[in-house]
Symmetry: C2
Subunit: 258 residues, 2 copies
């Protein structure tokens, strides 16, 4: 039931502190809430308009407490400009341990990504390319921030997102012989470099790029070649766009190899 205390709790879940203390995060919208119920995540409670509840399959209805709310109440708990049929409270997963046996194929690591939309888009892209792991430095924006959750378009339920110290990640993957590829404007041309079947692609902060400390840990630093006229000012790519181009190229070559 949507009590005043629950309204207060939900509206405070845009803050990381409240998410950590309550162990909950918010998932919104018709499609996202359905994907949450189908996922390995635990759903605490769903607040939805009656027609949405009527259309949910019985197997999904059994997965959580489901409370019918009015459009007006939905507006009160929504973070969206246009609330969309359902808001769910989900349980934060236990923090994960880096499992080096699970690093086959392509993985992504992020060094201090700050923009919620960028992180969400990167996770969405990772799901498209069948990437299992996205490792985030502890100073990367929190994936359970409502803006990030929504911009993953459901991919948050399909990709393992693990927060960790990237130095420790580097030590672990080195033992597993998985190479680390940084992305830098002065790196080697992506298209002229041999790419292995297992790899971790590491992307840096939106304005500062990879920190020198992390960059030094890389087995190789790659660049996406620019075709801008040489007279032009230094161009750059958005970090989600650069991640996508890297993933697409790794995947294209893996496809060709296997």
């Amino acid at each position: 039931m949507l009590t005043n205390n629950k309204i207060k709790l939900i509206k405070s879940l845009d803050r990381k502190k409240t998410r950590t203390e309550s162990g909950c995060f918010v998932v919104e919208g018709e499609k996202m809430v359905r994907e949450l119920l189908q996922s390995r995540f635990e759903t605490v409670e769903v607040f939805a308009v009656q027609p949405y509840i009527d259309e949910l399959p019985a197997t999904l209805k059994r997965k959580a407490e489901i409370s019918a709310v009015s459009e007006r109440d939905l507006e009160r708990i929504s973070f969206l400009k246009t609330p969309n049929k359902a808001v769910a409270l989900a349980k934060l997963p236990d923090s994960q341990i880096i499992d080096s046996t699970d690093l086959t194929g392509l993985n992504i690591a992020l060094d201090n990504i700050q923009d919620p939309g960028n992180l969400g888009t990167i996770i969405r892209t990772a799901a498209w390319f069948g990437i299992r792991n996205v490792f985030c430095s502890t100073d990367t924006v929190d994936v359970y921030n409502p803006k990030v959750v929504q911009s993953t378009m459901g991919a948050i339920f399909k990709v393992n997102v693990t927060y960790c110290n990237l130095n420790e990640l580097a030590a672990t993957v080195r033992k597993a012989s998985v190479p680390l590829f940084g992305t830098r404007l002065d790196g080697e041309n992506l298209y002229q470099t041999n790419l292995p079947e297992n790899a971790i692609v590491v992307m840096g902060n939106e304005s500062k790029g990879l920190s020198p400390e992390i960059s030094a840990l890389m087995d190789s630093n790659l660049k996406i070649p620019s075709y801008a006229p040489p007279t032009s000012d230094m161009e750059s790519l958005n970090v989600a766009v650069a991640t996508a181009i890297m993933c697409a190229e790794f995947r294209r070559r893996m496809g060709a190899n296997g």
Copy 2:
């Protein structure tokens, strides 16, 4: 000088109607205003803090009226959460005519893109790949919207952005024998298709994709292959990400050819 009328004008330039009536748009921030002054765009007036003005080269100072303002006044005219040294009023360029002689290389066309951040990121990506033309359907979000301008990171001054009817664009490029490539989830595999040296890549709306009417005008429809497990729900890519992967692949092949 920053009069009250100018403050009122600037703050109203987040509306397309006011931009059209006044013939002006807003450019913000240290780097962006400098790039505006270096560009082919006409600058009406720059409002900046004194240290910024002191550092501007004389050649740029001559390009527009420059008025010193206090930090407090800068806050009053800024659209940014953290105002950044300078705000400029720039003149909207004359609307452009599609010039079929100028379609060499890779071009982008956009069908009903709605998100300002997506449009800005696409124009930024176009500049990186040395793409001269981005054609926008008349129902695409306005490029002179302050959010779009800022998210281009200066690329708006380097890429020709033309609003047009995509049916008319298709007729013009057909005469010039430049093929049109749509992007669709059920298209041909991008990596298994011959790509020509001159082309227009057409991207569709964020949720609906290419409209059936526009899709029917394409010489070919391409897809970016997904590597998500087949059991998983239908994934999708953000439109700016998909545009970037398309551009990167066209450019990679053009590089190999020429």
